[in-house]
Symmetry: C2
Subunit: 232 residues, 2 copies
Amino acid sequence: MKMSVFGTGFAGQTIAEKLFQLGHSVMVGTRDIESLLKKDQKDYIGRPPFKEWHAANKGIELGNYKEAAAFGEMIINATNGAGTIEAFESAGEENLNNKVVLDISNPLDFSKGMPPSFFVCNTDSLGETLQRTFPKMKVVKSLNTVNAYVMVNPGLLSEDTNIFISGNDPSAKEEVKNLLMSFGWKEKYLIDLGDISTARGTEQLVAVWVRLMGALNTPMFNFKIVKGNLPQ
Amino acid sequence: MKMSVFGTGFAGQTIAEKLFQLGHSVMVGTRDIESLLKKDQKDYIGRPPFKEWHAANKGIELGNYKEAAAFGEMIINATNGAGTIEAFESAGEENLNNKVVLDISNPLDFSKGMPPSFFVCNTDSLGETLQRTFPKMKVVKSLNTVNAYVMVNPGLLSEDTNIFISGNDPSAKEEVKNLLMSFGWKEKYLIDLGDISTARGTEQLVAVWVRLMGALNTPMFNFKIVKGNLPQ
């Protein structure tokens, strides 16, 4: 399948590699190709500049957001939350309409220091904002509650864990479920929370996630929902 | 130990019963005893009026917030989040200062319908508000991420799960940890997230909790943190 990945950071690279390994045709989309390929500094978490990854992943195409949107049958939004709407606006509605958009981003605001806060939350979410801004896209929110390594390889964790799905379009959610299963997620651990407004729940879950990363001293964890019975 | 429980709803009743079973002296605190005992309607989830519970739990004392605060060596805040600050203000600082306050409430706003939103979140929390308003109390946020049945009986769930602890005072957190262990929580599943500002994480976790309750059709569940290793 032709897959586009918006965003060239750690999450975008990790998802793009996985999709390519699985046999998809993949194009990574960015705002400005030339300036991206000029960067020769490590990023804020010490990862090498994008051009090194690009050179090591020759099979993965690179385009601007418009080219990537036109290329993909499905689009995965791995941009920084703060740049999400602008990225999609620059892609052009004609390249986006009717497509399934898997939104893995979070509306994190780093301007007030660490841990980040949200630039939208509580009575709205980034997933809803994206769906509202592009009503003909089929936005499905998922994977935004785990680190990118876990997104594409849930078996790195010591037990099966849950992943959440939010979206308005049932068939789009089925397509995303199939993609997640191809990444290694087991069907019985996928929890469909309901329409895209339930993205408020999973985006705000990141508030405890970032604090757990600090307390546990690792980003390699996820939540498993354990059920029980009412007292007799 | 002398324990006060602020709040006479489901959570307050459940915690008070458990504390009494464990051998503590317990006083439940409320705003207005007379009006509480006059109520003869079931509550919004169909539970019988408070006076029936009160009659069935003769060993548990009832007082106004001031009396309950004066009584308790530790105070458990099980009020509605919206009424928390007012409850503590009416209790009088002289009855609160230097005491450990286990805050199990959440800042839920039901005015916009279900599921609830928050009246404080993101860059602040109810736990912080309570600590800031009464700087000489030792506020510890915990148990606010599970249903009251699970709070006092984690063994109702099919596996061990995690509970989070936030607070500024290390010895107050130790006291709360010991209380949680007396409820059945295992020490290795208690996660100290850090100071009281980390209550932002656990309070906002309730956004996904209420949506999971809908998706799973039960309030009987909790989160287990599953860890793993970075890819090789």
